[in-house]
């Protein structure tokens, strides 16, 4: 047993951290928000050059083939700097759809481009308000043409193609590859809680739709890949939570009131101690998720749900406490606190909200106990 990243992985962490510190200061995040682009194309290309996010894509498809532990290491650093990148859509999900369910031709066509950051894939499941479920998919494919509306679609504006859930003439749920610059696709950016990770509404009116792989996988594919994506997503949350805690700590040490640093008041000390505890519990659950994902363990569903529930709660707490410690400055646009708070809201809801994952956690913990 070794429940820690290896020396090589920690070296990777250090170099990725240096990369992001250099290439993704918070001004870059703000620039994305101000420009309304929803992601940072320049940073995305540099990440592609370094192949940082291609660690889990096999070498034969243009990736590094190192594995998922390395992906988790990189994800934590993405979370720490609030990287405005299409990680959850293109890397944690769409690449997985392709690897697990794509045809050989589809893999050869798209994976190398994703690995090199030459293409972005979006995942188009949602059709409005409510928990993601198979019975809420109303988009239709008929004669190879897709009709329907998807909202919200993460990175839908930036994406070159999307994997779209839709029903065929026989009502069978399936997944389709759709190029988004093609005719029959209309998309518009939508305003969300976290403008550093863009979202779109996409209306398909007869766009060409190619079945993903053999097209014989139902909703279980969504759940399988959601579990896999939940682990690096939890690492993004852990990275963000740690940074929010560090910012709160630094501010509390430098801010004086009543003739002393506010960090010397127990109200602040204990608030931050509780944040630290939540962060550590989240990190430990995330490590288990990383192991389960990388080892192909049959405990992945349980590990993913545990990582997700713990990390969501930790990041929400850390980012809210960071604002609280900053006092009035904490809720200004000028200070960065709200960027973490917004990101925590995005990461809490992406892949489905906490209640969905609480339910899955207990479902799989029951299975493990049985």
């Amino acid at each position: 047993m070794q429940f820690e990243f290896s020396d090589e992985q920690q070296e990777l962490r250090d170099s990725v951290r240096r990369f992001f510190e250099r290439e993704c200061p918070v001004t870059a995040v703000r620039a994305v928000i101000d420009a309304g682009t929803g992601y940072d194309p320049a940073l995305w290309r540099k990440v592609g050059d370094g192949a940082f996010l291609a660690t889990a894509i096999p070498e034969e498809y243009g990736g590094i083939g190192a594995g998922y532990l390395e992906l988790c290491v990189v994800a934590e650093e993405c979370g720490r700097v609030l990287a405005p990148l299409p990680t959850l859509s293109a890397i944690y999900q769409v690449a997985e759809y392709l690897m697990i369910a794509g045809s050989e031709a589809q893999k050869r066509r798209w994976l190398p481009r994703i690995a090199a950051a030459e293409a972005i894939g979006a995942l188009a499941l949602n059709e409005g308000v409510g928990e993601m479920r198979a019975d809420r998919v109303a988009a239709r494919v008929s004669g190879g043409r897709l009709i329907g509306e998807k909202l919200p679609v993460a990175d839908g504006m930036a994406a070159d193609f999307a994997i779209v859930a839709a029903r065929d003439e026989a009502e069978t749920l399936g997944f389709y590859l759709v190029e988004l610059d093609a005719p029959g696709v209309a998309r518009e950016a939508v305003e969300t809680l976290d403008p550093s990770r863009g979202h779109a509404r996409i209306v398909f009116s007869g766009a060409e739709a190619e079945p993903l792989g053999k097209g014989d996988r139902g909703w279980t594919l969504v759940e399988e890949i959601r579990d896999r994506a939940a682990v690096p997503a939890a690492f993004e949350q852990v990275g963000g939570a740690d940074r929010a805690l560090a910012d709160a700590r630094d501010y509390a040490l430098g801010r004086y009131a009543f003739g002393r640093p506010i960090a010397s008041f127990q109200a602040i000390k204990h608030m931050l101690a509780d944040v630290y505890v939540a962060n550590e519990l989240a990190r430990s659950n995330a490590y288990y998720g990383a192991w389960a994902l990388s080892a192909g363990s049959d405990k992945l569903s349980l590990a993913a749900a545990s990582a997700r529930v713990a990390a969501t709660a930790a990041f929400q707490r850390a980012s809210a406490s960071n604002i609280q410690v900053h006092g009035g400055m904490g809720f200004t646009w000028e200070y960065d606190c709200h960027l973490y708070y917004r990101r925590s809201a995005y990461l809490a809801l992406a892949l489905g909200g906490p209640s969905l994952w609480e339910d899955r956690l207990i479902e799989f913990r029951r299975a493990a106990a049985a």
Partner: protein, 419 residues
């Protein structure tokens, strides 16, 4: 213990209701309903114009500051009648936010400390909405530690000359008058060297800059003073007595905040009734949802009934006390929790912040981004807990590093870096 109206109260309520039916801007009903508390969503009319219009109409009929003496623009109502009025005003109370600080805090401070002439001159215009007031207290280095303010006032003939900066000033852009606390003597202990004034916001040397908040609004401002002159006649209390004057304001701030106890629970309940979670299932059918709602509900009803208890005490002659700190302490956190909870139920679409696309016109997204400021402005959660602990429960003050020290010698981040 009587929750229902007495016959006299019922008569009064009928009168208030009739007046509102006859006079309120009913054409704004839909827009007001869609406005979350603290955020007016009027597009058909300029919000300030609508607000002033309603305030003026109320003022003409004696409803604007119904509990004030008639000679200062009030209606001479007792505190129970005032509650009945508030209940009947309902939706239209959302139009009063520009005047809350003036009516709730500056007015009572003037009433306690200004000359009779000043009161008769200023208060009716405050009451009628003609003159908006703001409160120039907080500074960048003096938030929770309000007595640590540094804005200087120096006597010069019949005037005082002001230099410094205030922050978190609501309605400074619209305000004609401001209640201003200054430091007039930095060589004595920090609570002793303060002096209070009221200031014409159009005085030369006053500059107001809006602060952009995390939710993209700008409810607060920075206010800069460069050699601003205030006549000594506009001093409230003696030089050095400013902290005592400020306590009048703060006591009334608590009472004002205690009145604002609408947590928005009813809207959340309604949302859970409507939200589909499966075939023939709504969110409210889920036991987890009901359990969470119940925990919100006892806070919502608890705050409402605590306010009623408070009003009953006022009607028996009690003063608004530190126990009023409960209202904001509970409601700010509960609003934040309710917003997170509602967004969870919306799934990934809970991310949508565009009112045209989001569920319930983005109500909960808006609350999520506003509630952090609620937990800080008007006394942070931590300050309110300290007030309850010390002033209600009688526990000792925190050990002070700034006690019995001349203000200019109190440690700051700057001295710590130098030292």
């Amino acid at each position: 213990m009587n929750f229902d109206d007495t016959p006299e109260e019922a008569v009064f309520r009928a009168k208030a209701r009739q007046w509102i039916a006859d006079n309120a801007p009913h054409e704004l009903d839909a827009e007001l309903r869609a406005s979350t508390e603290g955020k007016l969503r009027l597009t058909s009319v300029d919000p300030l114009v609508a607000a002033r219009d309603w305030q003026r109409r109320k003022s003409e009929a004696g409803w604007a500051t119904p509990h004030w003496p008639v000679e200062y623009g009030g209606g001479g109502l007792n505190s129970i009648q005032r509650v009945i009025w508030s209940e009947e005003e309902g939706l239209y109370a959302k139009l009063s936010q520009h005047f809350l600080i003036g009516v709730g805090m500056c007015g009572p401070t003037m009433m306690a400390w200004a000359s009779e002439g000043q009161k008769r001159e200023r208060l009716p215009k405050l009451s009628s909405g003609e003159e908006i007031w703001c409160q120039l207290f907080s500074e960048p280095a003096a938030g929770s530690d309000l007595a640590g303010i540094r804005t200087r006032a120096v006597r010069d003939g019949d005037d005082w000359v002001i230099n410094g900066q205030k922050i978190w000033t609501s309605y400074a852009r619209e305000a004609r008058w401001g209640l201003l606390i200054t430091r007039t003597d930095p060589t004595v202990a920090k609570h002793s060297g303060l002096t209070m004034f009221f200031l014409d916001m159009r005085s030369p040397g006053v500059e107001v800059r809006p602060i952009r908040q995390m939710n993209n609004e700008a409810s607060f401002n920075e206010v800069f003073f460069t050699d601003v002159r205030i006549p000594d006649a506009q001093r409230l209390g003696a030089p050095g007595q400013g902290w005592e004057v400020a306590l009048t304001t703060l006591m009334n701030e608590r009472a004002t905040l205690a009145g604002r106890v609408d947590t928005g629970f009813d809207e959340l309940l309604d949302f859970c009734e409507r939200l589909e979670t499966g075939s023939n299932r709504r969110a409210i059918d889920d036991a987890r949802v009901r359990s969470r709602l119940a925990q919100f509900a006892i806070r919502d009803s608890g705050l409402r009934f605590t306010a009623f208890r408070s009003i009953s005490a006022l009607s028996r002659g009690a003063q608004p006390g530190p126990e009023n700190s409960i209202g904001k302490l509970v409601s700010a956190v509960v609003e934040q929790d309710m917003a997170q909870f509602a967004l969870d139920l919306e799934g990934e679409a809970g991310l949508l912040a565009d009112p045209a696309l989001a569920s319930d016109r983005g109500r909960f997204q808006s609350i999520l981004l506003r509630s952090p400021s609620m937990r800080i402005a008007g006394g942070s959660d931590e300050i309110l807990r300290n007030i309850i602990a010390e002033r209600v429960l009688g526990l000792p003050a925190d050990i002070r590093a700034d006690k019995d020290v001349a203000f200019e010698d109190i440690p700051t981040a700057a001295t710590a870096q130098r030292g």
